[in-house]
Amino acid sequence: MTPNISPFIIFFASIITSNMILSNFLGMCSYLSVSTEYKTATGLGMAVTLVLVLTTVVNWFIYTYVIVPLELIYLQYIIFIMVIAALVQILEMGMDRYTPDLHAKLGIFLPLITVNCAILGVTLFMVIRHYSFLQSLLFALGSGFGWWLAINMLAAIREKMAAVKLPPGVKGPALSFIITGIMAMAFIGFSGIFTIQ
């Protein structure tokens, strides 16, 4: 049953209160490894948003018109993953051909994104929560923006902290985890504005 929530609430909630990284902790690997520079983090954030919207839309159609009618629910994970992988590959070729400038900036991130669990996560949430098409679309867009916001914040903080003298034990990934934890706690402050889960 489709929940009775405005798609726009879903959009803002998935940026702020149900952020993919800060409250669901999904898509952490590329978030941690590609957040040393603000500029590259922006590129990855943009690519994740693009792929999220595209794959969620296509997976919504596949789910509604293929998986459900053919009673293939038990195969949905495999099907979703295959669709994501194929879409990313086609997207990369298309970008290379028609928008070489964008491809030069985002191209290297695309293969990385295929295995980003936030992408599969959004598709699965969409299924579990019975979102309508419009709700799914804005959920994907919001989750993308939320992921983008989180990685940009982490990258900005890491860039600022590059000059800080730290004990060896908290350098690198450890520091990223601490920063992420503090950011996540800060984001708890937004809870109550709206909830979707």
Binding site: Y74, P100, A104
Partner: protein, 368 residues
């Protein structure tokens, strides 16, 4: 479980993945089809008609033009730079770290990251056309020391090699043991540049090293070895009265070739060769260099042992090569330096040479 469930599962998976593969192949045919494009090399010197859609590095390799590459196209070695005047598209993020300001000014790009999509105008150093692939026969393999082997390789009947003394070859190992793929590493040529049908390599065993372990344990006489080359800009400049040569371990290889080049061409340079090792058991080719020293008064051989054993009865220089350098080389005036060996030793020696007044432009080296 019900047979029909199994059939339906397998059937639908096969159908869906089949459909996706067809979609991918179709989009590849449409999106990645750039037709036949023209590559113009060095302002019209050569013209190639190639199929677009792959990286410039592999497209050129398909045309037997081998651009140096140590990472196999993963954008991690930065060796595959080629001048592209036209048709390269924007600089990719993967290239950024490897392109200096000068590189950008002279239109250099990483050929492994540039896709061939349209007609291109390229600038490729003439030397690279000299690079070939050789399927050699291993004629001799012997121990020079406990950890250095000498490989003597015969080139195929119909092929010869032209290289400058000091240059290196790319050596390709076959899959063995746990290593499931071909791996390649650089090895300097130690034979004379006047010899065109054989090459000699000196390979030191690196503990747990992929290629050196292959060479030291899996290779035997008669085996086929794939090489490509020659590569590198470590070769004789000869714009000075005396050449100071410094090597450690297998770094002797390119120096041996250099020494023979000077002698065989009858060049007037004086040469002093400082060869660093730990103990007597690490020294090799001693008689050969002693003989050259006797026959050619222009050449001096100075082996240095850092930690000789009492039973070595060592009479020569003791201490690191740096000590001998300090002692025997007074200034950089009218001298060129050629160094080869481990990064640590090279850095220490280069520092001393600079202190003695060698300008950067007179110091040439290959770091192993």
């Amino acid at each position: 479980m019900d047979l029909s469930v199994i059939l339906r599962t397998v059937g639908s998976l096969a159908l869906i993945s089949g459909a996706l593969s067809i979609i991918i192949s179709l989009s590849e045919m449409v999106l990645n089809n750039y037709g036949t494009v023209e590559l113009d090399i060095n302002n019209g010197d050569r013209k190639l008609s190639v199929k677009g859609g792959s990286s410039l590095l592999s497209t050129l390799a398909g045309e037997k033009v081998f651009i140096p590459s140590a990472c196999g196209g993963k954008a991690t070695c930065g060796l595959c730079k080629v001048g592209i005047l036209d048709g390269a598209g924007p600089i990719a993020l993967t290239e950024e770290p490897y392109l200096t300001q000068e590189d950008r000014a002279s239109n250099l790009r990483l050929s492994c990251q540039v896709k061939v999509k349209t007609n291109m105008r390229l600038l490729i150093p003439e030397d690279l056309f000299n690079i070939r692939e050789y399927l050699c026969e291993l004629e001799e393999i012997e121990d020079l020391t406990y950890d250095i082997k000498r490989l003597y390789l015969k080139l195929p009947q119909d092929q010869t090699i032209n290289f400058k003394a000091g240059q290196f070859m790319q050596f390709y190992s076959r899959p063995y043991g746990k290593i499931k793929e071909e791996v390649f590493r650089a090895y300097s040529i130690s034979s004379k540049s006047s010899q065109h049908d054989h090459v000699e390599l000196l390979i030191r065993l690196v503990p747990n090293g992929i290629v050196t372990t292959y060479v030291h344990t899996a290779l035997s006489v008669g085996d086929t070895v794939r090489l490509s080359g020659p590569y590198g800009d470590f070769y004789l400049r000869g714009d000075a009265e005396e050449l100071i040569m410094i090597a450690g371990g297998s770094g002797l290889a390119p120096i041996r070739s250099l020494v023979y080049e000077v002698i065989e061409k009858g060049l007037p340079h004086k040469m002093r060769f400082f060869f660093g090792a730990n103990k007597l058991r690490d020294l090799f080719y001693l008689e050969e260099f002693a003989r050259i020293e006797q026959e050619h008064p222009n050449f001096k051989f100075i082996p240095c042992l850092a930690f000789p054993e009492p039973e070595d009865n060592w009479q020569g220089e003791t201490g690191f090569v740096t000590v001998a350098l300090e002692k025997h080389v007074d200034s950089g005036e009218n001298r060129e330096a050629y160094l080869c060996g481990s990064p640590g030793m090279l850095d220490a020696c280069i520092k001393i040479l600079k202190d003695k007044g060698f300008p950067d432009s007179k110091i040439f080296f290959d770091k192993f």
